[in-house]
């Protein structure tokens, strides 16, 4: 029985348990719902959960354990020369699995048949490889008899495993069903138990989010340590030159990249914060509902444009424009890609982000505060400046810091708008680059995961992570500290 079918069956059982338990609770109440501890629906949900939870738990454990058991049993039967060391064993097992999967397909397609004893027979003439190829399964070389036997054993074990799995899962689900029906008594605290399960589910969801973050950090940490074992940390953190090469004498100083990152982010924030904030103030305080209904979605459309499209905009429009009308007349260089180009375009990208967040925050300022200010004879702009912005400030600072982390992490626009040259320069019309672009650069193409030139990407990623994490913590702190102001 396939896993999907099993899930469907459990769902049916759960629905049945819901109906049965609910009906039983109703019957036990004798028409007076008041004698039940919880509403009848909760008894129903309790039944459904009692079916699903044990069933799913058994299924999950089985799905994890069965492949491990089968692998160890099969690899024990493989001839010793195939399992000489770990990598050879892994290779052979991969062959076995591939062949077993191929046989499944071929049997379904009819190019291989199964005889009474369960041994696969080639339906036409030719080799097993040809028979499999006929069914659309391509193998690199012809099948060795040992692997074929192992694959057969693998299929046999899998089939028995699946059968036992179905039995075990259904047994657990049915046991849960029976127990739930037995437990359905007026005193059963069904509501509390159901809410406990709901709480557990919510907790599991947040745990997954946290574990993912931890996993990301962990995977980067080990590679980062590898990097620092090959390349001195001081040279990385304080080096002023970034010139990787694959001859072995690279200079991997991250200061130019940090500088490029901060410079571009700074320019982008100089563009995004005033415009985004003013747009938000206009929308929240000045615009009529009709204008607001039009303008707000229009601004937010920008947020939906993929960043690579912004990159194109930077490359073909903003870059040449800045070069022809600012950089060249001012004698500041003739580079189409520049810090300015990327900064401005990232700023544009962040305008809707800031304006939308700030608009929500300004709207959350209670009307009573505005009334209080207007009632004292304050004008609109005095009210905005002296009452609304101060009251909304923590939220606005949070929004700005979030936007800053987005600017720091932006890659596409930088690589298309600012170029890929790592430079330490004050001229905003020079091409520079950022950490994110270099991470991509060091990891694409021919890479050797044992050289510092590649592993430096992980060190850069880790540093970037720490910087944005710091910004986010700062944002959280600011928001927390001032949150209670008008509540």
């Amino acid at each position: 029985m396939t896993v999907f079918l099993l899930l469907c069956l459990m769902l049916v059982l759960a629905v049945a348990a819901f109906v049965v338990c609910r009906a039983r609770a109703l019957a036990l109440s004798g028409g007076k719902i008041g004698v039940l501890h919880s509403l009848p629906g909760y008894y129903g949900w309790h039944g459904a959960i009692m079916v699903l939870l044990p069933g799913l738990a058994v299924l999950l454990v089985w799905l994890v354990v069965q492949p491990m058991v089968i692998e160890s049993r099969i690899s024990a039967t493989l001839p010793a020369e195939l399992t000489a060391d770990d990598s050879a064993r892994a290779l052979a097992m991969a062959d076995v699995r591939r062949l077993a999967a191929g046989l499944d397909v071929a049997i379904a397609a009819g190019s291989v048949t199964v005889d009474a004893s369960g041994t696969p027979q080639i339906a036409g003439s030719g080799t097993m490889r040809e028979a499999l190829a006929e069914a659309g399964v391509a193998l690199a070389e012809d099948v060795s008899p040992q692997i074929l036997t192992a694959a057969q054993a693998y299929r046999g074990l899998s089939a028995t495993g699946a059968a036992w799995r179905a039995l075990a899962v259904l047994a657990a689900a049915l046991a849960g069903f029976a127990l739930a029906v037995r437990m359905t008594e007026p005193e059963l605290r069904a509501r509390n138990r159901v809410e406990g399960v709901v709480e557990g589910l919510l907790m599991a969801a947040s745990t997954i989010a946290i574990l993912t973050t931890v996993g990301i950090v962990w995977s980067m940490l080990s590679e980062t340590f590898n990097f620092f074992s090959m390349y001195p940390a001081a040279d990385f953190f304080f080096g002023l030159t970034w010139s990787p090469n694959f001859r072995g004498d690279s200079e991997l100083g991250f200061i130019p990249l940090l500088w490029g990152t901060l410079y571009i982010s700074l320019i982008s924030m100089l563009v995004a914060v005033p415009i985004g904030l003013f747009a938000a103030i206009y929308l929240a305080e000045y615009a009529s509902p009709a204008v607001r209904g039009w303008v707000k979605p229009l601004i937010e459309v920008i947020a939906g444009i993929p960043t690579v499209v912004f990159g194109l905009f930077a490359l073909v429009t903003v870059g040449p424009l800045l070069r022809d009308y600012f950089a060249e007349p001012l004698g500041l260089g003739n580079s189409g890609s520049s810090v300015m180009t990327a900064g401005i375009v990232i700023g544009i990208l962040n305008i809707p982000f800031i304006s939308s967040l700030a608009d929500d925050i300004i709207n959350a300022v209670p009307q009573a505060l505005r009334d209080g200010s207007y009632g004292l004879g304050a004008t609109k702009s005095e009210t905005v400046r002296q009452v609304i912005i101060p009251a909304a400030l923590p939220g606005i600072v949070g929004a700005v810091l979030l936007a800053a982390s987005r600017a720091i992490g932006e890659t596409m626009i930088v690589s298309m708008g600012a170029g890929a040259a790592a430079k330490l320069d004050l001229n905003p019309f020079e091409a520079m680059t950022t950490m994110t672009v270099k991470i991509v650069g060091q990891l694409t193409g021919d890479t050797d995961f044992a050289s510092p030139e590649t592993l430096v990407a992980f060190a850069l990623g880790m540093t970037l992570f720490v910087i944005t994490l710091g910004l986010n913590i700062l944002a959280l702190y600011v928001v927390r500290k001032y949150r209670e102001q008008y509540e």
Partner: protein, 265 residues
């Protein structure tokens, strides 16, 4: 009504400060006020009484055009302040509100320090030229609002950290700091204890010397204690308007009598 101390009512000679004629207010399709005529006299306390939802706050908000901030609200009729129609397009509602101050039904201190709350109005209207003058205004306003003793040691702490009743007194101090000509108070004592209520009532009586005061209240006793004129609203209509003593002792309309004796409300 035995405990009413009916204050001397020598108001008939006073000049009219605000005069409302045929005021109609609609909130979208809701007709909230129907054809209200009221004269608010100078140096007089006028009380608005009536059951909840009858339009007292709505009318109060018409008098300083606070209804402008509600998009669905439409005001018709004429309201004049010192003979000038306040709904005239040439009138700047901001200037008007500086002359007609307001204390709201719910306390709404700004999330600023107590000092800055009170200094807000004087600052934006340029009433104080020096810091000392501003300090002076803040202190007298807080004293008048009976908050000075509680607040003098914590002028720098946020106004939102005060208790509900203290916040309301802070809002009163904030309103009188701009020295308006008319002060509109929407149930200023609903969150106050009897002591603070007595202090605020005393303040209202003092304010009468320099301003006109309009007060909305649900307490008949309070209306009787502090006001010289009383207007009774019911379902958006101004049912009765006259001298407080007369409204409470010999009401002309059966609905007024029913309300003040507690039979409708």
């Amino acid at each position: 009504m035995d405990d009413m101390r009916i204050v001397e009512r020598t108001v008939n000679t006073k000049a009219s400060k605000i005069s409302a004629k045929g005021v109609q207010v609609h909130y979208g399709a809701t007709h909230a006020l129907k054809d209200v005529d009221v004269e608010i006299l100078e140096n007089t306390v006028t009380a608005f009484i009536g059951p909840s939802g009858c339009g007292k706050s709505t009318f109060l908000r018409c008098l300083n055009r606070m209804n402008d901030t509600i998009p669905s609200c439409r005001v018709d009729g004429s309201i004049t302040l010192d003979g000038e129609n306040i709904y005239d397009p040439r009138v700047d509602p901001v200037r008007l509100r500086a002359r007609v101050g307001m204390v709201f039904q719910k306390p709404n201190p700004f999330p600023k320090s107590i000092y800055d709350n009170v200094a807000y109005g004087p600052k934006i209207h340029g009433l104080a030229r020096t810091k000392a003058e501003l300090d002076e205004i803040v202190e007298t306003s807080l004293r008048k609002a009976a908050l000075w003793n509680e607040a003098k040691d914590r002028l720098a702490s946020p106004g939102t950290g005060l208790s509900g009743g203290q916040q309301q007194r802070l809002c009163i101090a904030r309103a009188i700091a701009t020295s308006p000509e008319v002060l509109l108070m929407d149930e200023p004592c609903s969150a106050l204890d009897p002591i603070a209520t007595a202090q605020v009532e005393e303040l209202i009586d003092e304010l009468r010397a320099s301003f006109s005061v309009v007060i909305v209240t649900h307490s008949m006793q309070q209306a009787a204690r502090v006001s010289q004129k009383t207007a009774f609203f019911h379902l958006g209509n101004l049912v009765e308007y006259g001298e407080t003593g007369q409204v409470f002792t010999t009401p002309q309309d059966p609905r007024t009598e029913a309300y003040i004796t507690g039979r409708i409300g």
